[in-house]
Amino acid sequence: MATKGVTLNTNARKIRFARRFISILLKMRKTRSPCSSSSIEDVRKRSQRIKIAAYSSMAHAVGPRRAWSRAVLFKLRSRARHQSMMKRRSFGLQKKRVVVVKNNNDIIPSGQLSQADRLRQLVPGGKAMDMCSLLEETADYISCLATQVKVMQTIADHFSK
């Protein structure tokens, strides 16, 4: 299905993603505590960090060209900002800044989410998109996720041999 141009594009993205992801993994391993025993919580945290690393490196590899990658990058940056602010300021101040977003559209009108809404929840940044661009972003997101899984699989296999 992929024309030559598309394959080249995906290869470039794949390589960029792989490089970033591996460098993050190496960093994580270097900073990992030397103690061999790791509790479940540690494993969970690490896996969470690895997951975030995977998504962020994918978003960086794609760049700001796509709406979903921009949404991911924005989320990451706001998250980082939030965390740094949390460290600096007291929790009391933080509470006032917390913004609660109510998803009134999703569940209240009908008992079940519509397909479009479900897709919007899955694709980052999908909530603000109309159907047409949502489908376009979904296509790109699917291809990126597929490459992400491929690379991670290869890495995991490499480590597990």
Binding site: M1, I15, I22, R44, S47, Q153, D157
Partner: protein, 434 residues
């Protein structure tokens, strides 16, 4: 909406939809101007410039609401100034053609023929009077039956062919009236494609219409060829000079524009939608969505045979969810794997990533209709986690072996789907373990 979309996909119209609405809009508006016919023909000429979709959609919206198509003609159509003053019979032909589209399509019945002669204005020669006498809702129905009929009777002295077509059209006009507003008539036209195809007597009409619609609206002669041959000849004679220029361009445009077998130009069909600029934008939007859905169909494995937006969306959602679960699963695996710091790792891994197609195989193994199995390894892993605290010292090894087993199972599925040759470096160490 799904039904319409399916029809749209079946029609394979790119920018045609954009053109269809406005021109039909022009025809439905009771424009007393002769320019309306000109506008329709000129619009149809512009139709095939596919790249000009935004142009048309933006250019057309104000036009639809315009009561003076002359403004439209002046502003947007530069090269068609020659059509600004078409002779009356040309306009008549255009109107007749637009309605004759419906004519060709519809089965014959004698019922509607009767009310037609009741309209006094038909007998008169002034086109404007004819148009003005129609209320807007009546336009599509009566004009369909009456205009071409009278035109035919005036010009060709009537023929059995005409009556048959008129009757054919009148039957469907009944259906149209049954459906109600004009807004439904263009959709009715679209809907009727399905029943028309089912009905054998209508099929020749439908084929005729399909072929007819290949020609642009200006070529009324071809349009009416099927039902009646006297009319087209007359129309040809009357509009031959203008037509000549039009037909050549239009023929080119049709062939270049669509490139598909059924070059429907629903320029006239959208009479009812003319007043509603929303439906025009909606049609464009629907076509865009169907195009994107086709792209997604290629991306998501195992969706080649699925037709239908709802099922397709379900598949897409499942696939995205499964991919995200796989990412989570793999991140868990990477978290538990003991780090072996090799500085060359990056190079090795980049080599692996570029050369190995094992991942592809695995993904293919995962993808097609195996969304349920995706949850299986993940669920197993989650099941293994609670059991871990009981055996803390074994923790590093237990989940890893379980994960490895699962991954090997998953890889086996991938192995089945892709040739072993592609696996490269992974093949060596995986085979003996299997």
């Amino acid at each position: 909406m799904d039904g319409h979309e399916n029809e749209d996909v079946g029609f394979q119209h790119g920018s045609d939809g954009v053109l269809h609405c406005p021109s039909s809009g022009m025809s439905t508006n009771p424009l007393p101007e002769k320019v309306s016919g000109m506008a329709m023909s000129s619009v149809s000429m512009y139709k095939p410039s596919n790249g000009a979709d935004p142009f048309f959609s933006s250019g057309w919206d104000p036009l639809v609401s315009l009561s003076h198509s002359e403004n439209f003609g002046a502003s947007s159509m530069v090269s068609h100034s020659e059509f600004s003053n078409p002779p009356y019979p040309v306009v008549m032909e255009n109107q007749g053609v637009s309605s004759s589209f419906h004519l060709v399509q519809y089965p014959s019945s004698s019922t509607l023929i009767e009310p037609v002669p009741k309209l006094p204005c038909f007998g008169s020669g002034s086109f404007s009077e004819m148009v003005n006498s129609f209320g807007l809702p009546d336009c599509s129905q009566i004009a369909n039956s009456g205009c071409p009929q009278n035109y035919a009777s005036n010009k060709a002295g009537g023929g059995t062919g005409k009556t048959s077509t008129n009757t054919a059209q009148s039957q469907d006009d009944h259906q149209i009236s049954g459906e109600g507003a004009i807004g439904s008539s263009p959709t009715a036209k679209r809907r009727k494609r399905a029943p028309d195809s089912n009905n054998s007597p209508f099929s020749p009409h439908q084929n005729a219409e399909g072929e007819v619609q290949k020609d642009l609206s200006g070529e009324s002669s071809d349009v009416l060829k099927e039902p009646d041959e006297k009319k087209p000849k007359i129309e040809q004679n009357t509009g031959s000079n203008l037509r000549g220029k039009q037909t050549s361009k239009q023929a080119k445009d049709t062939s270049s524009g669509d490139g598909s077998k059924d070059n429907y130009i629903h320029v006239r069909a959208r009479r009812g939608q003319a007043t509603n600029s929303h439906s025009l934008a909606e049609r464009v939007r629907r076509e865009k969505i169907s195009e994107r859905m086709r792209l997604l169909q290629e991306l998501v494995p195992g969706c080649n045979k699925i037709t239908g937006k709802a099922v397709m969306l379900d598949e897409i959602i499942n696939y995205v969810q499964s991919l995200q679960q796989q990412v989570e699963f793999l991140s868990m695996k990477l978290a538990t794997v003991n780090p072996e710091l090799n500085i060359d790792m990056e190079q090795i891994l980049s080599k692996d990533i570029i050369h190995s197609r094992a991942g592809t195989g695995a993904i293919l193994g995962f993808g097609p209709g195996m969304s349920s199995t995706h949850r299986y390894p993940h669920g197993i892993f989650q099941g293994s986690l609670p059991s871990i605290p009981a055996a803390t010292p074994k923790f590093p090894s237990l989940p890893q072996t379980m994960l490895d087993n699962e991954l090997h199972n998953l890889f086996q599925m991938g192995f089945d789907s892709c040739p072993v040759d592609n696996l490269g470096p992974n093949a060596g160490h995986l085979k003996p373990e299997l």
